[in-house]
């Protein structure tokens, strides 16, 4: 008879109930790190959708100024991604082409819902503004 067979089903459940939250709590910092790494990666991929980074800096800068500070790039990524169809998970799994399609679809939906803001009088979709801010604050890879 193995050791495990000597543990009753009831005892196993009790032990598991006691240890899983503790283990999960112990893993929380790691999970946060993974999430941050994932968001950095998504930020970079979103930023690559915008070829005109200088322009993005102008538009995104205006948007960030309008927000009044206190909003960082990862918050913008989280906000943008959460509003894409399928949310963060779908955005993370999407190819570059699919990601562009998701974002463009969200922009169209913004205009459909008149979810717009005014940047120096220009009527801009909230998603466009966020994307510009993300692209404008994401460092570009140095040229090879």
């Amino acid at each position: 008879m193995s050791w495990s067979r000597r543990i009753s089903r009831r005892r196993f459940l009790v032990v598991a109930a006691a240890t899983v939250p503790a283990a999960a709590a112990a893993l929380e910092p790691w999970r946060a790190i993974v999430a941050v790494r994932r968001d950095h990666s998504l930020a970079a991929r979103l930023a690559r959708l915008v070829a005109h980074r200088d322009s993005a800096r102008v538009i995104g800068g205006e948007y960030l100024q309008m927000l009044g500070g206190g909003v960082d790039r990862l918050q913008l990524v989280a906000a943008l991604a959460s509003e894409l169809p399928g949310g963060h998970r779908a955005a993370g799994a999407a190819s570059a082409e699919e990601l562009a399609e998701l974002v463009a679809g969200r922009v169209r939906q913004d205009f459909e819902d008149e979810r717009t803001i005014s940047l120096r009088g220009w009527i801009v979709s909230v998603t466009e503004a966020r994307l510009a801010a993300i692209a404008g604050t994401t460092p570009q890879r140095p040229a090879a």
Binding site: V50, S55, T116, L119, L131
Partner: protein, 566 residues
């Protein structure tokens, strides 16, 4: 018969069945409609057959409130009136223009479109427009140019434009009136006072003066004032012999509710692609008729947003250097054109925005995103096979530089830099916006008119909100991005704010004398035989130009006079 009042003996007493004051669009329409009746018509015109500065100066008067044109330049005082200098733009009113809109205090005519509708076709003939067609879909079918896609948030409307050579009613109808046996038209005959019976319940005669010092009078069974939105109230207010506040003014309404079509540069549209077709919104000819499209909000949106109607007129701005290059075979000019390309009228910020927008649209359409080199997107290849013209039209955007311009030159499409957007507002009725009299008198001894034009926050808010909604709609349709040039938080008006030379509302139409000067038949409340023709009777002005409706209402009034005078 056409004659000059200056040649009549001093103290002459004229008599007819109907006396019409003013030979502009409204007065001539009434007179012409009565030609073939037994009624004896007297038509009084203050000016001659041509412009005369001494007569024109009778219109001078001070201006207060919102800056406005000098009053003596805002209309013309000679035969044909302001049709001698109008733009010829015509459109019928919509049903909603007549309706009471709860969110617009003072709106709601006592008559509806159904009452005016029977006269629009005849009015259209009188202003010499070739067709009764006002439907956008119909025009679009016949037009090589397309309107922007319609949606539940963005509508396109169409105006017709009278050819310049046919705009003057004076030129068009002077011979006909001269030949008419029942019409006596007196030039240089200025009405200076309306006389009534003791109770001021009926007009007995008009006092007339010439600048040469002659005085005469005109008696008639019916009188029609058709002297425009400033002179009509001026005459009523100045005729205070029986009523100290003037005629028809027992409720202090004559001259109040002056409305215009305030207009200003409201924004700019940065096109999503430089080959965007916006020609439908420029004045252009379709099978012999000049038309022009413009954007507006569908009435349902106006209602849900509680806005007044705002028309958006568009002026496409093409690259002038491209136009020059088209005329030249010199490649150098093409190169300098490319090197010299700036941001156009959308400015640097707009250029940057459109680059970001373009990265999400044009770039995605043509290349695989994220690829280290511009790899053609499989969709492009598919589209090329399925619909070569779609890709052909987009090639200039893809190529951008000299090759793009050469391509455009080859296909003959002018690159669009921007579209300037001007708004024209259906001003909300405003009791404080008004025409009054001042102490200063003109050469005939009449008190001069003073205009105090006032606008409201609803007017301003409607212009801004309309632009925002249209801005979202054009973006959703993939047409581009729109900039609103009016600051939503700033209560001031743009410095280029001006009127449209449309003087309306000062003898407004209403069923009750407490809320209007004339009734649904255009008769002055309380005065049995005094009528008013022209846009001064408009309860609200609509956002369309007024002339066609002025003429339609005048024809309706003529019909009414035929019935009651028979």
């Amino acid at each position: 018969m056409l004659s000059d009042a200056r040649e009549l003996p001093d103290g002459a007493e004229l008599e007819g069945d109907v006396c019409i004051v003013g030979a502009g669009a409204a007065g001539l329409a009434v007179a012409r409609a009565l030609i073939r009746t037994p009624l004896r018509i007297i038509l009084l015109e203050g000016g001659g057959l041509q412009f005369e500065s001494d007569t024109q100066s009778l219109y001078e008067g001070p201006v207060a409130g919102v800056p406005y044109f000098p009053l003596d330049t805002a209309r013309l005082r000679f035969f044909g009136g302001s049709t001698n200098h109008w733009g010829g733009i015509c459109r019928r009113f919509d049903p909603s223009d007549f309706e009471r809109r709860d969110w617009i205090p003072g709106s709601g005519w006592p008559i509806g479109l159904a009452d005016v509708e029977p006269y629009y076709s005849a009015a259209r003939e009188l202003v010499q427009l070739p067709t009764d067609d006002w439907d956008v879909d119909q025009w679009e079918e016949e037009d090589e140019l397309e309107a922007f896609p319609r949606s539940d948030r963005m509508a396109t409307r169409v105006s017709q434009i009278v050819p310049k050579s046919k705009r003057s009613f004076g030129s068009a109808y002077s011979r006909e009136l001269e030949a008419a046996e029942t019409v006596r038209c007196y030039l240089h005959a200025n009405v200076v006072e309306i006389d009534t019976n003791e109770a001021a319940s009926a007009v007995t005669k008009l006092r007339v003066a010439t600048l040469t010092g002659k005085r005469m009078s005109v008696a008639a069974r019916y009188f029609v004032l058709a002297t425009g939105g400033i002179e009509n109230p001026r005459l009523l207010l100045a005729s205070n012999r029986r009523r100290p506040n003037g005629l028809g003014n027992d409720h202090d309404l004559v001259g109040r509710y002056f409305i215009e079509h305030p207009r200003f540069e409201a924004g700019v549209l940065a096109p999503a692609r430089r080959t965007l077709q916006a020609g439908f919104y420029e004045a252009h000819h379709v099978e012999g008729t000049e038309i022009q499209g413009y954007l507006a909000l569908p009435f349902d949106v106006q209602r849900s947003e509680q806005l007044v109607d705002v028309q958006l007129l568009m002026d496409p701005v093409y690259d002038p250097r491209f136009e020059r290059a088209l005329e030249s075979d010199d490649v150098d000019s093409l190169e300098s054109l490319v090197q010299d390309r700036g941001g156009g009228s959308i400015g640097d910020f707009g250029s940057n925005l459109m680059k970001v927008v373009g990265d999400l649209t044009t770039g995605r359409r043509f290349t695989v995103p994220g690829a280290p080199l511009p790899v053609p997107h499989p969709d492009v290849v598919r589209k090329l096979v399925a619909s070569p013209e779609v890709v052909r039209d987009s090639i200039p955007d893809l190529l951008g530089n000299i090759a793009g311009f050469s391509y455009k030159r080859a296909v003959g499409a002018a690159p669009l830099d921007a579209i300037t957007i001007r708004s024209r507002i259906d001003q909300a009725p405003n009791r404080d916006s008004r025409v009054t009299l001042v102490r200063e008198r003109d050469a005939l001894g009449m008190p001069r008119a003073r205009l105090d034009w006032r606008l409201s926050e609803l007017d301003r808010h409607s212009a801004v909100r309309t632009m925002e909604i249209i801005g979202a709609a054009v973006a959703r349709a993939g047409l581009g991005r729109l900039r609103v040039m009016v600051d939503a938080d700033d209560r001031s008006w743009p410095t280029d704010l001006a009127g449209g030379y449309h003087h309306m509302g000062t003898t407004r139409m209403s069923d009750a004398p407490e809320t209007g000067v004339v009734d649904g038949a255009c008769r002055v409340h309380g005065i049995a035989n005094l009528f008013v023709a022209g846009s001064s009777v408009f309860t609200t002005g609509g956002s369309s130009t007024p002339t066609l409706t002025i003429v339609a209402l005048a024809l309706r009034l003529a019909d009414h006079l035929k019935r009651i005078a028979a």
